[in-house]
């Protein structure tokens, strides 16, 4: 039964001209779709094809194309298959629509993406900071944020060489490899 439903869904999705459909395996489907049509697709999948579980929303920063890729993974408990709907939105101004009215779990993922990538979701119930409460810098998961450069700018390297270590070294012991030798 479930296999027939899957085949039926394949036929249906292949008929829609604006999407690129690819079945990766018996339980994985990849769909590429324009951002303006994605909420309608999710509504179709949820309302008509039993894809009621939003497993995750993943965001990928394709900095060379100047785009964010959003991937909505939805799972059907009836046909046991996962549809990953891919869409791309421009990095600037970085605004997209929320799917909170369709999937409640979207609120968490959208808040997380807003915090980590700076992509704003219109209509999401809560876009406040969550994990990085006291962070004032740029969204850290963006590819143009360099963690190491940030650390070098913000903090100064300190040589850890306290008196007790000097005493040990005077007796011929201590750390054999100094940190500056490693770096």
């Amino acid at each position: 039964m479930s296999k027939e439903l899957n085949l039926w869904l394949d036929d249906l999705l292949q008929d829609i001209k604006i999407i690129k459909f690819k079945r990766k395996s018996s339980r994985r489907v990849r769909i590429d779709i324009a951002p303006e049509a994605l909420p309608a697709l999710l509504e179709l999948l949820q309302g008509r094809a039993s894809y009621v579980h939003l497993s995750a929303i993943s965001c990928v920063d394709w900095i060379e194309e100047d785009e964010f890729e959003l991937v909505y993974h939805v799972w059907s408990y009836e046909t046991n298959s996962l549809v990953s709907a891919h869409t791309r939105v421009p990095r600037d101004p970085g605004v997209y629509l929320s799917v909170y009215d369709l999937y409640t779990p979207a609120a968490f993922f959208e808040r997380d993406i807003h915090e980590m990538f700076g992509l704003y979701f219109e209509g999401s119930p809560d876009m406040e900071k969550f994990i990085l409460t006291e962070w004032n810098g740029p969204p850290p998961m963006r590819k143009d944020f360099d963690s190491e450069a940030f650390v070098n700018q913000t903090f100064s390297w300190e040589e850890y060489h306290p008196q007790w270590l000097k005493d040990i070294e005077a007796e011929g012991g201590g750390i054999t490899t100094r940190p500056e030798d490693v770096r």
Binding site: S55, S58, V71, T133
Partner: protein, 380 residues
């Protein structure tokens, strides 16, 4: 939230007050906080406050080689680290098109179930402690330690084993390992009736946990609840059966459900899953000696390993629910993007916030421990 940055919201006089529950509180699992608004003892609204454990795993993984990340991923969830390693390895194997040997698959199933047993024992002990019963807590932790002994023997590490690598597992079992695992299972099997009479059939626990944090199956599906918490609302769904990975389709086990959807049902599901994990491990012990061959397929030099470009979404059933990794490669020697979908990112945030409203202050710990929420999965 540092105290100097906290400003109390000015409000007209009322009976309501705000309370910071955590981050250092015995009723909170791990470093996690909860800002609750109360009227007397009744919770009016609750806000999760995460970030105390943020270590930036996803960003770190983008700067390290594929193989280096193996040492990083188990640290995302401390009580149940093996599914993290397996899920990440499965993703790389799918991207590279690697077929891992059958023996390695059985060895992975064995560790996954050992890890599930350990995590469930920990969770049961934790819930017992919030009910005021400390003996089951000591029992749960002590019996978990015996499983960690077997992990130490098999992998060298007690908690973070770092034993699964892309392509299989690091090395084969030591001689006589299965015998010792078998006698451990005999011991755990004999302990289950003791757990029952001390905790699961104890009226102190039953009266305390019944109807606390109850949700219906519709609510659970709407809120993205997975794993034992979903099965406690009566839906027989398990990634191991319905989206099988490794050799789970060759293994015989039952999917346990409970109708209630409350803290009691969630604990009873975990109690029954202890039995199921022991059953799976016994099948592994019976089957594993007949599976011969390598434990690892040939992989390229791990220090110069360019994984082919592509993306994949792999899911496993961890002890807490659906765990998934979205891994993107652009053909380089490091991951382009890794997104970790921990089950607790739903349970500890939205579900807990919703279930807490209308309950009493002392129920929050009960709800949180019965959901088996793991804050490091939220923070990552």
């Amino acid at each position: 939230m540092r105290p100097e940055n906290y400003e109390a919201i000015k409000q007209p006089p009322s009976n309501e007050y705000e309370l910071n529950f955590g981050p250092n509180h015995p009723g909170i699992e791990g470093n996690y906080a909860f800002r609750v608004k109360l009227n007397g003892d009744e919770v009016l609204s609750a806000r999760a406050d995460a970030g105390y454990l943020h270590r930036g795993f996803e960003k770190l993984m983008e700067g390290r080689l594929w193989i280096q990340n193996i040492a990083l991923v188990p640290r995302i969830c401390v009580p149940d680290p093996v599914p993290m390693e397996v899920c990440y390895s499965l993703a790389i194997e799918e991207l590279c098109g690697l077929e891992i040997p059958e023996r390695a698959q059985w060895l992975r199933v064995m560790q996954l179930e050992m890890s599930r047993l350990a995590a469930h024992l920990f969770a049961f002990g934790g819930h017992a402690a919030t009910t005021g019963m400390y003996t089951p807590m000591f029992w749960g932790v002590a019996d978990r330690d015996l499983i960690l002994d077997r992990f130490e023997e098999l992998t060298g590490g007690r908690v973070y084993s770092i034993y699964n690598i892309p392509g299989g597992v690091r090395r084969d079992m030591p001689d006589g390992f299965l015998d010792r695992l078998d006698s451990l299972l005999d011991y755990l099997d004999s302990r289950l009736p003791d757990y029952d009479s001390l905790f699961f059939r104890n009226q102190v626990f039953i009266k305390r946990a019944r109807d606390v944090g109850a949700m219906t199956q519709e609510q659970a599906l709407k809120w993205g609840v997975t794993g034992p918490n979903l099965r406690a609302t009566g839906l027989a769904f398990d990634v191991r059966r319905d989206d099988p990975y490794l050799v789970y389709d060759k293994i015989d086990f039952d999917i346990v459900t409970q109708p209630g959807g409350d803290a009691l049902s969630r604990n009873l599901v975990r109690r029954a899953e202890l039995q199921q994990s022991i059953r799976i491990l016994r099948q592994v012990i019976k089957h594993l000696p007949s599976v011969k061959g390598a434990v690892r397929c040939p992989i390229p030099n791990p220090l110069a390993w360019n994984v082919p470009a592509g993306e994949t979404y792999t899911r496993v059933e961890s002890s807490k629910g659906e765990l998934a990794y979205y891994v993107v490669s652009n053909g380089g020697d490091k991951p382009y993007r890794v997104h970790v979908r921990g089950p607790s990112s739903m349970h500890a945030v939205q579900v807990l916030e919703k279930l807490a409203v209308g309950s009493r202050l002392e129920d929050i710990a009960q709800i949180m421990f019965s959901l088996d929420a793991c804050p490091p999965e939220v923070d990552r």
